[in-house]
């Protein structure tokens, strides 16, 4: 009797395995790795693409621009999402591995400075932000706000967003020791949502009602101010491929979505700024 029951167990396992085998077949794959800022765009493109091309499995990971670059250099992904340009070191490493990175600018992004919506501050100057992150300004009352300690949140140093911030705001000066580092745009926003005295920065697509974007030098980040270059902390968002993909391949079709009208609508509805204007 016991053997009978064991047989049933074995049979059910075989059944489960067979049912796995019967899930529909997918052939090609596109592996995307990199920036958490570009992640939402890549995920939306993937959904759009898989809806139109049923045979392709597009996978997206969000592990930071630095990791995206490393994956491309090691040949373990076909597209590296990056919220900064590749560094000289990375280019050299890529060339040594026989990989020729080609940049595709898929969208534009202003780096909004985020505070809790209860914060009455309307805007700051670049110098004030720098002083806050250097630890020279410690309380919101020093910049015209309430008597509240400033909690400084920053992205981790592997992120392209951090490097943009460091270059455009900090002038490559070192951040104060009590800055809190978080691993993704989403986490940065959550930290600001929950903390009254917090200040942080994230991609434009991550701004919603729960946080407040500040005016920088009197300029609010929106399509107009960012494309014209008036908003001081703006940057393009990249997807890197190894060489320009062969025309007509799945990769080519994927990487050119951003040039289409649908691609523009996707970028816009996620909250970033498209490079095309139909």
């Amino acid at each position: 009797m016991n053997t009978n029951k064991l047989n049933v167990l074995i049979l059910s396992i075989v059944f489960i395995v067979i049912s796995f085998l019967c899930t529909p077949c997918y052939g090609e794959k596109i592996v995307i790795d990199g920036s958490t800022t570009v992640g939402p765009i890549a995920k939306a493109f993937a959904e759009y693409y898989m809806g139109k091309n049923k045979g392709v499995n597009v996978t997206v990971s969000e592990s930071g621009s630095g990791n995206g670059a490393k994956s491309l250099i090691n040949g373990t992904c076909q597209i590296a999402d990056m919220s900064r340009f590749m560094k000289e070191k990375e280019f050299k490493a890529a060339a040594n591995n026989g990989i020729m990175p080609v940049a595709h600018v898929v969208a534009l992004d202003g780096l909004p400075i985020l505070v809790h919506p209860s914060n009455p501050i309307k805007g700051l100057t670049i110098e004030q932000i720098r002083d806050i992150y250097l630890g020279k300004i410690k309380n919101w009352k020093d910049v015209g706000g309430p008597n509240l300690k400033i909690v400084k949140i920053s992205r981790d140093t592997n992120s392209g967003t951090y490097e943009t911030f460091e270059k455009l705001v900090m002038n490559k000066e070192k951040l104060a020791k009590d800055v809190e580092y978080v691993g993704s745009n989403g986490a940065a926003r959550q930290r600001v949502q929950k903390t009254k005295g917090a200040i942080s920065y994230a991609g434009l697509g991550f701004v919603d009602k729960t946080v407040k974007a500040l005016e920088i030098n009197g300029i609010y980040p929106n399509q107009e101010t960012i494309t014209s270059g008036v908003y001081p902390i703006a940057r393009p968002l990249f997807m890197f491929t190894d060489g320009y993909p062969k025309l007509g391949t799945e990769l080519y079709k994927f990487i050119t979505i951003y040039l289409s009208e649908d691609g523009q609508e996707i970028v816009e509805s996620i909250g970033f700024i498209p490079v095309t204007s139909y």
Partner: protein, 448 residues
Amino acid sequence: MQLKTRKFINKLFSGIGITSVVIMTAFLLILLTPITYKGLGAIFFSGTIEYRMLNYKEFGHGDKENIEKEFAKAKTARAPVYLQFDSFKKEVKKLEPKKRREIKNQLKEIKEALKELLGPFPDTPIPVLLRNQYGQTRWKNAQEKLHHVLYSEEWDYSDPTKPGIQVFVPRKKYFAGTSFESFFPYLEKNIKKMLLPKFTCYWQFLTDKSKDAHFFGGIMPEILGTIYLALGAMIFAVPLGILAAIYLSEYANPGKIISFLRICMGALAGVPSIVFGLFGLAFFINTIHVSNSKSVLAGSMTLALLILPTVIRSAEEAIKAVPNTYREASLGLGAGKWHSVWTIVLPSALPGILTGTIISLGRAAGETAPIIFTAAVSVGLPLKIWETLSQPTPALSWNIYNLCTEHEAVDEIRHVQYGMVFVLIAIVLLFNLTAIIARARIMKKLRG
């Protein structure tokens, strides 16, 4: 020591013991109750007509005629809303400029909120992204969005020395004296007719793939990925682990080298899992290229390394627990060493080995760090068995983390996250339950 003191100490000790057991149970309840309650919310909820329409169009669930009939009903209820919107647009032009600007801003906000609540306006082109093609699929979220339509969220900064206070201003106020004023009470009163909420059991949450980066659909790819990874880890770790355990306990001569090996294994068991993850990336993917990208194969190998020490240790203990008389009897009857290990020692040790293995299976299913760099992705399709050799997969443990920290719309898809947590815990519990049952069965069989 006096008898009285001894009795007191005894009582004190049992008291502390009972308290700690009670605290443990309370913790377990505190932990499991919300997980179960919120997790089940992903499957059982009050779904709107938008949900039923989406599920029919994207997955083919539900009865077409019924849904279309319902949708037509909802559409009739919605028509006055849009009509009022259109007719008021003409009225706006006649207002004085200052008032017009204020009202136009309000209208823009209302339009956006209404789109989120009921889906795109009729007679406008269909949006490209799936998330913009439908209104709120869950009644609970719909109520929040309704609030956004009815009230504008503003901050009162009147006291500059203190943080502002959130105030909800009824939007009706801005439209006082216009024909649009009646829009708000109509919407509030008829919202149920427009969305037709109904209790829903979405069991396909477990078997559907996710749509539009987890906005809609189920978690099939994640469940499948988790099972693949855990079973894959077993395929590598179990044979290796059992063989090593047999060697260590039956064949090896106890000595310095063996005890050194044991220390190494103990150290291996204590290595943080993220280190295994980085090692897996550096060795399996970048050095020996088991696949040309992250893949389930590389992930399972990394997980196998992680659980190997546990498997070896538990198998060794189980083998050691087999009474020596068994071996002696077997050898006495003329069986060789290997023969007696294979036919006598291993079968008697099987319950112990099985328990250890399945508990580590549970651990492999729940680990996050080792698969971040070797196997896990945020979105992807469910894989077929042979695709696991070359393709990465979403997995429950990683996607829970990803959804709660990295997703751009965390708050709107909390239910998916809770559902994933619940399913992951259910899978791990199921593994452990199997271990207990299998163990009991084999013990019974062994006793004859």
